[in-house]
Amino acid sequence: MNKILAIAGVVIKELYRRKDFYVLFVLTALITLLLGSVNFFHDDRIARYLKEICLLLIWISALVIAITTTARQIPAERENRTIFPLLAKPVTRAQVITGKFLGCWLAVAVALAVFYLFFGVISGSREHAWPVLKYFQALWLQWTMLAVVIALVLFGSVIFTSPAENVTICFFAVLGILLLGGHLNTVALGQKEPARTMLYTLYFLIPHLEWFDVRDIIIYDWPRIPWLDCLLATLYAAVYVVVFLFAAWLVFRRKVLAT
């Protein structure tokens, strides 16, 4: 475990020493701060709308950070050839994959925590209400969803040689799932065979990332989600993480790395 944590530590250090990360980070924080603090005409609907934009922005920024950070991990190790001294140590390729995953996931957690803290403080100080548990549920489920995304991108990064290619494909795949994934079964009903079976199979195979999107409980002040549902969603995500990481390890362990 120490080795995995050490690899994760390097991933986190790299992310927090990159300038592009700070640009996105500061930009999101600023927009959240501005949109969250203004109060147009004391209209609740506008306030809600601004909240929605802020949370959407947090979702997009976190996705961009997660995908771009993860996509370059293994390809950059190979391109900069840092993988060679790393694998010359008593480290297995499974530990490298797990360490990279953990590093990206923890780095995203810090970014998410700061985004939500900004948003929560601004929104709470204006509305004089502090629904901390709701914020925690939204943050937790988004972070859990990002674990699946990070594992998927890591799997992509051992298949595709170019990080740009991986980023593009994974970004479209994730957006596709988020926007269309939940409607695949309805679409399948209107299809003939074999398209219907194929769409149903796809519906049951893909990770339903849209289930983790609970922004509405904050925006519309809906009641909290039952904790059991949160736990089940976490377990559901864990299954996909394990599957994607296992697939990444299977491909990576067979990769010929020649200096």
């Binding site: 120490n2 944590l5 250090k13 900069n80 050839r81 840092t82 140590k89 790395l257």
Partner: protein, 249 residues
Amino acid sequence: MSSILRTEDLRVEYRSRDLKQTVNLALKGLNLNVSAGEVFGFLGPNGAGKTTTMNVLLGYVKPTEGTAHLFDVDVREPIARQRIGYLPELTYYYKFLTVEELLRFYASLFEIPKLEAESRIDRLLKLVELEHARRQPIRTYSKGMQQRAGLAQALINNPDLLLLDEPTSGLDPLGRMKVREIIRRLKEEGKTVFFSSHELGEVETICDRVAILHQGELKVEGRVDDLMARYHCNLEQVFLKVVEYQPQP
């Protein structure tokens, strides 16, 4: 003396990615045996198979046939790398880290306790003369400094076997001298050093034994003195004879 590094009938084939899948034989049944405390020079022209051998020993490439062992452990097992230090030809380190952080990271991969790791880092930075730059990111280092940082990372686990891939390539005369001094010091400490190099003068002065590889085959192996006596010439000329070099008329 006990064998530290051993390869038996090591054969490595690379298949091209085209449809024909042409087979390129990088190693053709290599047998090597390096004993404890030796400084072993691994020589050969470019494309001879030196790097492939290193790649197999470090577990980067799986042999098509044959076996390779470090400390009697199959090189495919990560534990085989517990007692080795590896210095690549070029500096392949995380440039955003400082040398101190880099050494701390590698120390944690060897599961060296924190206090012990800190004292080793101090000692190694002194040895490679990088104490003054310990908190600077590696990207700000000169090539010589980066190579010395590389040497420090190769020694972090106090290895019994050092694998050095052209350790002095690209260094200025002072840098080369420094690396040679360190290799000599390690030899005095009883460490085993296995290194590939094109600097035959350097090999002649440092190595106890050498092996000359050509087109994936081991052509000659023996003590440096014995080889020079057998061929009645210096190591460079031995090398040229073994690889059947023909000067252009």
